[in-house]
């Protein structure tokens, strides 16, 4: 058991801290996330890439830092930047999903054309995967593209498309081979968002915010070379992309941060002159949640060790999303319940506590319980892949 990262990494941590101390003031505010990158964002991103704090392992020729993969350095960057409340550079699904996908499966030309401007924030991407009729069963997507005059012609609808309203481009899954089995009929295309025939409608969620969109396609034309891999290989490409996404939902660092905020709240707030922390019921709920958060934090350390040593243990990975998202919602639920009537205040109400984050997060966490594979799907996966229980038998086809 060795919980230190070693001297080399202590030095690296010092270096990161020094950087943050010197340059941290240039960091864009976190509230700007979810908007189109502006000059400040791009300048910060450029600086981060130069120092290897963003795009660390992307080759120089494509605009990255060109460093070697080093998990502990990545962890240190996360810890220090997050701890100091400093931006880790541009986000978005272009950088997190499309870039690694192109690096793995794109042509040389595609890599050269797309990666650098994406990293620099000059091209912002939206993701076109989900559809209203294809939720848990993503491979059943119905948005179609047929070829006409050397172009794919796309018709259909996507949903849950964050940043579609300001994105420059979209990577999208469409059904190009209607007669093939459902997983083999899909292609992965790249298209400009200003292509005629695209209509974007903001998708308001239960929190009242509209960070997602619905996107409608009517005879949207895309040149046939704007494809990653071959026709019908889109499902394989998408899975290559999805694997880069793992582990973000249910991250225990978020649980831990939420828990600390509830502790602070319960120390400060009183009802009938009694501090919430002095309520045995709410305190015990808090302590139970702390136990659950701790378990997930140490589970994360176990996963980090496995990643470092190339060890593969499935179960501790499989449970993160299910347990973490419910845990986060439960933490928010405690804050709401402890606040009582004050806990139901919303929007810009007088007496609002913590800017109303508890209600917003409570609902948003429910969204995360649903998104990225609902809890029902997660339990299927855990029982089948983790416990080796059989899939449900296929239903008899109706005569």
């Amino acid at each position: 058991m060795d919980l230190s990262y070693g001297t080399e990494y202590d030095d690296y941590r010092d270096e990161v801290r020094a950087f943050i101390k010197e340059h941290g003031h240039k960091s864009p505010a976190s509230s700007k996330q979810g908007n189109k990158p502006d000059t400040e964002d791009k300048a910060w991103q450029k600086l981060l890439i130069e120092r290897g704090y963003a795009a660390r392992i992307i080759p120089k020729e494509y605009g990255g830092y060109g460093g070697e993969a080093d998990l502990l350095k990545s962890v240190i960057i996360d810890e220090e930047f997050d701890g100091a409340g400093v931006s880790k550079g541009l986000g978005g699904q272009g950088i997190s999903m499309l870039v690694p996908t192109l690096l793995e499966l794109g042509t040389d030309e595609q890599k050269k054309k797309w990666i650098k401007p994406t990293l620099m924030g000059d091209i912002f991407w939206a993701q076109g995967y989900s559809e209203p009729g294809a939720g848990s069963d993503l491979a059943s997507l119905q948005t179609k593209a047929h070829v006409e005059d050397g172009k794919f012609v796309i018709n259909g609808q996507k949903i849950w498309t964050s940043s579609a309203h300001f994105a420059d481009m979209m990577f999208i899954l469409v059904r190009t081979e209607p007669d093939a089995p459902k997983h083999k009929g899909i292609s992965y295309l790249l298209l400009p968002m200003d292509t005629p025939g695209i209509e974007i409608k903001p998708l308001v969620t239960m929190t009242g915010e509209a960070t997602f969109n619905e996107v409608f396609f009517e005879d949207v034309k895309v040149p046939t070379d704007q494809i990653v891999a071959k026709r019908g290989e889109g499902w394989m490409v998408a899975n290559a992309t999805l694997k880069h996404e793992r582990g973000m939902l249910g991250d225990p660092r978020q649980s831990s941060s939420l828990l600390h905020q509830v502790v602070a709240l319960m120390n400060e707030e009183s009802v009938n002159g009694v501090r919430l922390m002095d309520s045995p019921l709410f305190r015990d709920r808090l302590l139970k949640l702390q136990g659950r958060v701790m378990a997930m934090q140490y589970n994360s350390m176990r996963l980090l060790t496995n990643d470092l040593s190339g060890n593969t243990e499935l179960m501790p990975i499989l449970v993160v999303k299910l347990i973490g998202t419910h845990l986060n919602q439960d933490i928010c639920g405690l804050a709401i319940d402890a606040l009582g009537e004050l806990g139901v205040l919303y929007d810009d109400s007088k007496y609002l506590r913590n800017s109303g984050m508890w209600q917003t997060r409570y609902m948003f966490m429910l969204g995360l319980i649903i998104g990225g594979g609902t809890s029902h799907i997660q339990k299927n996966i855990i029982s089948e892949h983790g416990l080796g229980m059989p899939r449900e038998p296929k239903p008899q086809l109706k005569a």
């Binding site: 009729g133 239960m206 009582g340 009537e341 007496y351 609902m363 429910l366 649903i370 998104g371």
Partner: protein, 364 residues
């Protein structure tokens, strides 16, 4: 022995359900929530035409002279469609207060107006169950001062009944000099909850100063029982929507209602909710007929329905998948109404503590 609805109550139930289902569709909720007053004149007129605004007001004061169970039948239906209507404060809590503590003059002055739909009343008793932000109202020399928070149905009210301490009830007119009303935005915009700041505002005593503790308790009991009925309706509709959606929605070439995991989720909701129906009936019955049990039942029905409803709000949303998280299906109006009802007039935790004291399990 007949535990359940009478023939008349069945008819009442049907007519109110017909009304809310046809006259208060989701699209209308959507519009009204944007206004956020917790009131709509057309809906109110409709309820007035049904003759239910004076449900618990005796006929001699222009009411329908029906019972408390009739009132919860109506409240349940309003919860079922998350109706923005100040029925809880105006038609249940206010008449309970006036009948319990008011003089004949006051009954004659207010009750017929309420029954006719001309007078809407906000109820401020939050400080009786829990004080925050140093709120509280004091009565002296015919005037009230202080602060009343979470006044139920206050946004659209023409007058307020406030608890000044735990044993005094007063009437304050909307727009009275020295009165400042601030809307408290909550997650649930189907209800108009407000704060009143009072600076020497003229007030009319209902009953005698300092001797209406029983009446205050009765109003709170009535409010809690009605909130439980509202939760019953709200949760029942969520469950139904979960089942309806699951029967339509296909994934992996099957309606998702055929997946056992999802069936068990729905069955759990149904099993938890079904016995609540009889509990609400009994609690409502006690408010009128069994004084000894009225407060205990009000506490337990409010807290039990709150505990049952919260997971139903979550699981119904989960059954709808991503669609449940959007505004498109409007499910969240139900989700949020459950959130507010859970906390109004005392959180489940604090209400249960009252039940413990009431039963002599612990000292007050």
């Amino acid at each position: 022995m007949e535990f359940g609805y009478s023939e008349e109550q069945k008819m009442l139930d049907e007519s109110i359900r017909r009304f809310v289902n046809s006259e208060i569709p989701l699209d209308r909720i959507r519009e009204l929530v944007l206004e956020g007053t917790g009131f709509d004149q057309t809906i109110w007129n409709g309820l007035s035409e049904l003759g239910v605004l004076g449900v618990i007001i005796p006929e001699e004061f222009g009411g329908a002279g029906m019972g408390f169970l009739d009132a919860t039948i109506i409240q349940e239906s309003l919860g079922y469609v998350v109706a923005p209507a100040p029925f809880l404060g105006t038609c249940i809590m206010a008449p309970t207060a006036i009948l319990a503590a008011g003089s004949d003059d006051q009954k004659n002055k207010w009750l017929p107006e309420i029954a006719a739909g001309n007078l809407k009343v906000g109820l401020g008793l939050s400080e009786v169950t829990g004080v925050r932000e140093n709120a509280g109202v004091t009565f002296e020399g015919g005037k009230v001062s202080g602060k009343a928070m979470f006044v139920i149905d206050g946004e659209c009210a023409d007058g307020y009944i406030l608890a000044a301490g735990k044993s005094t009830l007063v009437w304050v007119a909307a727009g009275a000099a020295g009165l400042t009303k601030t809307k408290l935005n909550t997650v649930d915009n189907t209800r108009g909850v407000v704060e009143l700041v009072l600076d020497g505002v003229e007030a009319e005593l209902i009953g005698s100063a300092g001797s209406e503790a029983a009446a205050v308790q009765k109003v709170i009991d009535a409010g809690r029982t009605a909130l439980a009925a509202d939760l019953l309706g709200t949760s029942q509709r969520m469950l139904e929507r979960a089942v309806e959606y699951a029967k339509e929605r296909k994934q992996f070439n099957r309606v998702i209602a055929s997946f056992q995991g999802l069936k068990h989720t729905c069955a759990t909701m149904a099993a938890d909710l079904e016995p609540c129906r009889a509990m609400v009936w009994y609690a409502a019955h006690c408010q009128q007929e069994i004084a000894d049990e009225a407060t205990l039942l009000a506490c337990q029905v409010k807290s039990h329905l709150s505990e049952v409803s919260t997971p139903i709000a979550n699981d119904t949303t989960l059954v709808h998948g991503g669609m449940g998280f959007t505004d498109l299906m409007g499910l969240h109006f139900w989700f949020k109404r459950i959130g507010l009802s859970r906390q109004l007039l005392g959180s489940p935790e604090s209400v249960r503590e009252e039940a413990a004291v009431l039963q002599g399990w612990i000292a007050a």
